[in-house]
Every structure is written in structure tokens, then in C-alpha cells.
Symmetry: C2
Subunit: 557 residues, 2 copies
């Protein structure tokens, strides 16, 4: 299992990688203004694992031997740090608990099967011995889809799919690849890219999450406008269940009753273990450009995004930050050190001057990024059409410079949360999707709800948002909020996070566009899919897993 | 219920509408050549209902009164002809049984609820009194999704949704309409068109099928390349279940566990009664053109269709007939009666001459239709790109004349089956979908299997096919086959239909692309979604409907 990469036990990503603000002169003043927090230089680069104490594994020796007999002793571990790495995802709640060493219940053993046969034997054993089995991909969940129930009495096995990491085949005629579930995003793209293909699925968690995890949590990547949500991308799959393996062959479309494929997608381990997927792949685009635009206001920006979605133009993504997120984004610009950057910074000052002369309120302006892929000629044609659409809403075309910057920074955002926690500050995200007609209402409802929650807690809070992932009938709104931690971190967080979630469903949005349900969002399921919908889903889980051995307690409580 | 339109009891569509061959000089010779059948002029225009005898309703009087108390006595009927209209769909098996008056079991009563509340009360009654409830839309199923189990002992209620026929609301900003499930295709389009919108969903059954039926059977329309399959179109729904109504709000996308929406789509009445749907609607296109192309061969035609699907061009549909279907299509051309038509016929003769001079084998040529919608400029641009793609495969552009003809005739095809039955001949259809890489294999496998089955039965059979419904990773192949009826119509049909279905799944296709499962295709479910997949689906039906009151026996036996 040596080659299975894991994130640091205490936070996001790799040891040694941090969000750094010392080279971003506008950031500390921004945080002071937005959250009332005085940033301090980072005091430590890591957290010593010896600062926490981990509950001893509850595991009969013969069970450990039996598991070792299936996957090999060297792929079976009761190591404390490995068990903590596997105990939960990276939600704020889980990060707080982890840093505090507040582990109610941690997996008792971690196993790394080599193939589907070994997975099947572990699944069968879980049912036979009444164990709890929690499939583990990259551990990036922020919906508490991995954390065991605190009062679980049974032995908990974390089933790490990390050794199932191969692209097995590419059907080049059909644009379909057969890929093992445990492969991490970059490893998968490397294997596909080597043959000229890409999946095109890039969630923020990309660097540390897995294909199987994306399917199991109903993920969507930032390029979904072109490549689709994971539910569109997955065309076939193999799912190990206690009674046998469900094999769904790769099919472009089918009329065979209720969709089993769409039952397993989003099932978060409750219906079985996904071991292999047939997915749509695409030739790497000949040419790619990300162009930035600046809009004078959020309503105009949203109108333009909708007009782009309705137009004849295919974009790879089209996103726009609201005024708050735009301000945040500008605050994270690095200081100009080289001459070239100094010239660019000077150019930016001039741009501001242009905007002010046009009568813009610079506190209202919204930055947008649109990505184009195709032949050079196609990209040029689409850029032209989009330029004319955005100009109708008074936007200024900023060009490809900021776009390239966005493309480089896109996977760094999750590190910010750990940085802020070090500063005794929460930074968290929550997203929804709603019909186009309701986006403005949802946006305002969430701002109002967050502000009320901040006020109740006597906090200087901050909230910001962007629109991304366009569909025919609506889009995703992605919110980030922050505040300084007070006396009772968990209680405060519950109030604020709940206010945001409740505003989503009250205003006509869904509880999550692509983060899943887990234990974090299950309280809103009845409001989202109706009480009878939850009853049916619960019945499905009960009949599919009568012993409640498969990641119990997730999605519906 | 007077305003609920029904098809004729003995066949497809409206009384008085027939397939006519007397004005198609090439048709009789074609049928003689293809099937060895000598066509006779039509002997009768209808079938007298008194020629069949219908089993008496098995229904306690108080139950009839109770149903009348819910939906009104005037919307409750035990009339023999109405019960026969509701007894089954229009599959070959059902048509043969119906014409022979061979009704093992017919619904005992037909009810026409006015609204969701009445539906809910009927559903509750069905569970309370242990009735069998079969939801009925337009009755166009050709997968035996409506026919009751022949040995059903309980009282059978046909729940006709025909009075739920209104477009309730259009969210013009989001392109979403809320529509009642029982509305027939043309009535729905009339209501949408009046406000400038269209659903864009046009299955061959369009004139006689309903929105709720399309959702319940996982339908796809001929324009799915642009408008999507029904699973893409439906964004929200209301489904009456015994325990309450599942309400799925209209959402562009959501990450809330296994998809309930995708469970109800294709559920054929087994999970509840769909009463209302939120669906994507589109502005009626400014301009629309259907262009015809002639290809020198099937492989070249398929390559071109794939190239179109992979290109930057959005088409509304792109379909191509194989050589056999092209020959059939040409045989149904009307005799030239007007001068204009005579000139056109002359032009066609010249075209044939051109093809021969190019060295084409006219027995191999394949006709294709591609539909373009958008602004005039967009349509022109796309036509140009498609013309260059098809020319790379040696195709000749025939222009919009034959395309317009295709557009007019598209809903007439189902009448052909009844015409052929009158001639003691079977004409039937079966469709699949497969990855692009397998289309040629599937096509050949089906031809070979059908030929073997014809040979076994000592028949001169005919089979033909077209490719339609393109996706990123594959497409649909739609087959039509025919033969003269012999001694044992049901046994012969079973052999031939089974050969086609078995070839689908053996060659990597699905048992149905858009006709659903019903009782007709349930035998192939284990081969399509694997035995464990069927077990899980069966468990879902059992737990969702423990009394087996909701259209039992369909999809999985």
C-alpha cells in the first residue's frame, strides 16, 4: 500500500503546501475589513500527530487475520495515523474534531484490496461478521460521507480503493474508457493524456479525489458545461454488493426501467462498492483559452451568463463571481515583483480608472471567466460571440491574462481553510443549484440568512458567491463564508451553516449541487425530495443492505 | 370523460386512417420481392366490436360505487369496449390477441380521475382493497407494459390519466413548464406553441401518447439530439404513492443521493402514478430545415453520422437508413400525378443515372435526413459543415425536398402494422443502442440472427434498419422486420423477436433504447443489467409496493 497517496491527517492536501499571504499585500487588510480578524504569520507548518490520542482499534485478532488473508497482511493496517487519515473527510466539522483529537469513533482497521475479487470477499465478510464497511477514495468529502456514526458499536473497516488505480482500456472509436474506481484525478489524467484523451472532470478536489468517489458522491467538475456532470460522464459501472456484482455495460442510453446507474451514482457507499467505471472521454482540445471579463454589476453578469448558455456557443465553463468574491479575488493578487508584473499592475490601475470614468461603482463589479476549447478557429468564433453578448451587459473584456492565472490557481482554494483555522477563523463553502428564474432570489436569501446568523452570533461575517455550471434550465451558485471562531465552534458553525442550507431549499434551490449529502446535509433531504421521497430512498437502502453494513447513516438518517 | 380521446380498440390510431398502397406503384412489387406476399386491396375499413367477446368485469358492486364516489360515476366505466381499449398496448402480440378476442384478463373497470387528489384516493383504495392498478396514458406501449398478467385473480383497475391534460405554468426565464401527466402529445404542443414554446419531444407514437407515458417508459423522441431523451427533459415531478406523494422540485442538477427522478423515469407504474412533470421547454426555432443526403454505402453513412456527432455542429436529428430501409422508403413514394411531381420524378431518374455513372451499387445506397434548427444564419452555417462532412464519405446532397416529405410522414408509420396484419403479414420494430465501436457488429448480428430465424421458420423474411439518436459514445439502431404469418403466429413471432433481442445483448447493445421493458423484454433484463442488478430492482419494487398492487409483473418478472 506504500504507493497509495494520502492527504495530511490534520487538513487538506500535502504536507508542506500552504496558503501564503505574505506575498499578497492586499490580503491581510481585506481579511481585517471583511472578518475583523488580524492575520498573524504562520506559526507552524504541520501538526505533530502525537498531539492527539486515538481510540484503540476494536477488532478481534482472527478478524484481522482473516482480512489479511484476503488482501494480504501488508495491505491491512491498524496504524493510528492511517486510521485517522481514514476516519473522516475534510468538512469544517471534521477538521475541528480532528485538530482537537475529538474522535468519537475511528475505523478499526484499514484494508487496501488489490482488485474486485478482494473487494467482494471483504464485502461478503462484512455482512457475515456484521462489520461496518466504509469505502474510501481520496477522503475529500466535505459532507461527512465518511465519518462513522459516533455511537457505532460494531467493528469499522475502511475499504481504501487506492490500489485500483489503472485506466484499463480506451475504446477510441466510442470515446469510452474503462477505469478503476480508486484512481486519483491526476494519475487518471496522466494515463489518459498519454494516449491523447481526457475525462474533462475537474472538481476543486481534483488533485486528491478519485473517480469512484466522484461517482459515489454525484460530483460535478468545473468544466461540466462541456464535459457534463459525473452522472452524464459515467456510462457503465461495476458495483460489488453482498449478493453479487452489478455489471452495467457501457451504453450511450437505454430504456431498461428505473436507472440502476443513477441509483449507484450518489449512493455514497450505501448500495455497494464501485470498483470500475466506463466513462466518456474526449480528445484533448487542440486549443484552449480562458478569457476574463469584468461586469459592472451582478444582475448584468447573471444576465450575460444566461445569454451565453442560451446561445449557439459551446463553452467549457462560464462562471462569474459576485462583487464580494471579486473583491476577495483581487485581494489575493500577488505583489508585482518583476518588471512585467509591475507593468501589468500599472495596466490594472489604468483599467480601474476607465471603470470609474464609465461611472462604475467598483464595489459592485463582478469578474467572470469563460473557457473555450476547440480548434483555433472555433475558439476565435466563440470568443467573438461571447464578447458581443457580454458587451450588451456593459462588460469589459480583460483578455486571457487573468484567465491563465485562474487556470493555475484553481486547485489551491481548499488550502485556505486550514490557513484560516490556524488563524482561529472559519472559511467554508456550500453550493446549490436552482432554475434561472430563482438565482437572484436564492443569492439574496442566502446573503440575508447568513447575515442574520452572523448578527445572532455577534460576528463580523463575510459571504461571497459565484455562479458556475450552466444548464438549460438553471445553474449552480457556490457560496463561501467566513467568520472568527468564538466560544463554541461547533454550535456557532451549526447555526451559520444551517442558515445557508435552509435558505437554499426555502428559496427553491437544492441542498447541494455537487458536494453530496453525507451526514452534513441529511437534515434537509425531506425538504429537498419530500418526506415520501426520503421514505422510498430509506426503504431502498434497507432492502439493499438489511444488516446496515454499508456506510450506514449517510444520506438519510 | 367524453373528451378523453382513445385509439381504435383493434389497432393503431384513429378509425378511418389507414396505410394506403394503391397510390404507391412500387409498394406491392417491393412487398412481393421482400416478403413473397401478394398484396390484396383492403377488404374492410374497421373491425366490428361485436366480433369479439369480452370477459365480464370481476368487480364487487360496492367497489364500483366507491370508485364512482371518488372520481364521479360518469368517470367510472365497465363498458366492454372501453375495457378492451385499456386492456393492452399495441405490440404485435397484443394486436394478435385483440383481433382474435383472446383476452385472458381485461381491466374490470376504467376510471378517469380529474386531479392528483382523486388519483391519490384511488391509489389508497387499491392498496386497501388489494386491487391491481394499471396507469394508462395513450395506450401506445409496444412492450406489453399495460397488459395485465393473464392469471391475475384480483380486480384490475385501469387508471386513465386523460383528464389531467393541462399545461399548468411556463417559467419563461428558466425554460421550464409544469404539465399534467395525461396530456396527449399534440394537445400539449398546442398549449405550448400558443405561447411560443415547444417540448421538442416527438416519438413515433407522438400523436397518441402522453407526457406521463413518455416518462414512465423512458421514451426518446426523434429530435433527441437537440432536445434530449425524456430523462434529460424531465427536471421535476409529482408521483402519487400509497404512502404519500413524492414531490421532486424542478432543478437543473442536484447531488442528493441516488436519483429518485431517474427511479421513477422508466418505472412503468410500478413505483406509483406520475401526475405532473416539470419539463424543459424551448423557444420554437426561428428556422427549421430537414436536408436529405444519399450515401453510397452503410459503412460510409455511419462514419458520416459519427463525424457529425463529433463535430461542432448541433443538429436536431441526424439519421440514416441502411440499404434495405432505403429501398423500402423509395417503394412508398407516391405516383407522380401533378406536373410538378412528374418533373421531380424525372429529376430523380436523372439522379439515379448520376449515381450509376459514379459507380454506385444502387442496392447499397443509404438515405439520410439531418434536421437543423436555429436562426437562418446558424442553419446555413451548419448545413455547410454537414455538407462537407457527408461529401468526405462520397454522399450526394439531395436537398430539402425529400426532407420535407420525411417531416410530413413521420407519424404515419405505425398504421403500416395494421395494414400488414390485414394481409396476414407481421411488420414489427425493435431498437437498441450501443457504443459507436459496436454499431456495425450489432447491425450485422441482428441481420444474421433474423435471417437464421426466418430460415428456421421456412419464411421469406425482411429486415431493415436506421441509425438515429446520436450521443457522445454511441447511437440507436432501429430495426423493422416483416414476414408472412404461418400456422402458429405467436410461436413464430416469439422465435423471430427473440432472435433480434438476443442479438442486441450478445453484440453489446441494450434490450431497448426507448420502447421500455414491460413484459415483452423482461426476459433480457438479467443479461442487460446483470442478475444482481435485477435482484436489486426487484427488491426496490417489492419494498415500494409490498402488496404488488402497482402494475405488477412488469420490467422484472
Amino acid at each position: 500500500m506504500a504507493h497509495v497517496k494520502h492527504m495530511k491527517w490534520w487538513g487538506w492536501g500535502e504536507e508542506g503546501v500552504h496558503f501564503e499571504f505574505s506575498n499578497k499585500p492586499a490580503f491581510a487588510p481585506f481579511v481585517k475589513r471583511a472578518l475583523g480578524v488580524d492575520l498573524r504569520p504562520r506559526e507552524r507548518d504541520t501538526i505533530d500527530f502525537s498531539t492527539v490520542s486515538v481510540p484503540a482499534p476494536r477488532l478481534e485478532t482472527d478478524l484481522l487475520d482473516t482480512l489479511g488473508g484476503i488482501v494480504g497482511d501488508e495491505h491491512t493496517s491498524t496504524d493510528d495515523e492511517l486510521r485517522v487519515v481514514h476516519w473522516a473527510g475534510k468538512s469544517v466539522t471534521e477538521l475541528l474534531l480532528t485538530r482537537a483529537g475529538d474522535f468519537a469513533r475511528v475505523p478499526d482497521v484499514v484494508v487496501y484490496p488489490a482488485d474486485e475479487d478482494e473487494v467482494a470477499r471483504v464485502v461478503a465478510l462484512a455482512v457475515e461478521r456484521d462489520l461496518v464497511l466504509i469505502p474510501f477514495g481520496g477522503g475529500t468529502s466535505i459532507s461527512r460521507s465518511l465519518q462513522p456514526s459516533p455511537d457505532e458499536e460494531r467493528t469499522i473497516v475502511s475499504l481504501d480503493l487506492g490500489r485500483l488505480d489503472k485506466v484499463l482500456a480506451i475504446d477510441e472509436t466510442s470515446g469510452l474508457a474503462t477505469i478503476q474506481a480508486g484512481v486519483l484525478g491526476p494519475d487518471m489524467e496522466d494515463q489518459l493524456n498519454a494516449r491523447g484523451w481526457t475525462l474533462g472532470h475537474f472538481p476543486d478536489s481534483f488533485t486528491h479525489s478519485t473517480l469512484g468517489g466522484w461517482a459515489a458522491t454525484r460530483s460535478s467538475g468545473m468544466q461540466s458545461d462541456k464535459y457534463g456532470d459525473i452522472a452524464d460522464i459515467v456510462r457503465g459501472m461495476r458495483v460489488v454488493r453482498p449478493g453479487g456484482t452489478v455489471v452495467l455495460r457501457p451504453l450511450p442510453s437505454t430504456s431498461t426501467g428505473p436507472s440502476l446507474r443513477e441509483m449507484f451514482i450518489g449512493s455514497e457507499g450505501r448500495l455497494g462498492v464501485i470498483t470500475e467505471l466506463d466513462v466518456q472521454v474526449h480528445r484533448i482540445a487542440e486549443h484552449r483559452e480562458v478569457i476574463a471579463y469584468m461586469f459592472p454589476s451582478w444582475p448584468k453578469a447573471l444576465t450575460a451568463m444566461h445569454d451565453i448558455a442560451r446561445s449557439d456557443v459551446s463553452t467549457t465553463f462560464a462562471r462569474v463571481s459576485d462583487a464580494h468574491e471579486t473583491a476577495f479575488s483581487l485581494s489575493t493578487q500577488k505583489a508585482a515583483t518583476s518588471l512585467k508584473k509591475k507593468v501589468a499592475a500599472k495596466g490594472q490601475d489604468l483599467l480601474w480608472e476607465v471603470m470609474r470614468r464609465r461611472g462604475w461603482d467598483t464595489d459592485e463589479m463582478c469578474i467572470s471567466y469563460v473557457c473555450f476549447e476547440g480548434t483555433k478557429a472555433e475558439v476565435e468564433r466563440r470568443k467573438k460571440t461571447v464578447a458581443s453578448i457580454v458587451k450588451q451587459q456593459g462588460a469589459i473584456v480583460l483578455g486571457s491574462g487573468p484567465g491563465a492565472l485562474y487556470d493555475q490557481k484553481k486547485f489551491d482554494t481548499p488550502y485556505l481553510r486550514d490557513f484560516l483555522l490556524e488563524q482561529n477563523t472559519i472559511g467554508d463553502v456550500s453550493e446549490t443549484a436552482a432554475p434561472w428564474s430563482k438565482l437572484t432570489t436564492v443569492h439574496k436569501a442566502v446573503y440575508d440568512a447568513a447575515q442574520r446568523a452572523f448578527d445572532e452570533q455577534g460576528k463580523t461575517g463575510w459571504i461571497m458567491s459565484h455562479m458556475s455550471h450552466s444548464y438549460h434550465s438553471g445553474a449552480c451558485l457556490y457560496f463561501t463564508f467566513g467568520y472568527e471562531i468564538g466560544q463554541d465552534p461547533h454550535a456557532e458553525y451549526a447555526v451559520i451553516k444551517s442558515a445557508v442550507q435552509q435558505a437554499f431549499v426555502d428559496a427553491g434551490g437544492t441542498l447541494s449541487h455537487h458536494h453530496g449529502v453525507g451526514m452534513e446535509h441529511s437534515a434537509w433531504m425531506e425538504q429537498d425530495v419530500s418526506p415520501e421521497g426520503v421514505r422510498l430512498m430509506r426503504s431502498l437502502f434497507e432492502v439493499a443492505d438489511p444488516g446496515a453494513n454499508l456506510n450506514p447513516g449517510k444520506i438519510v438518517s
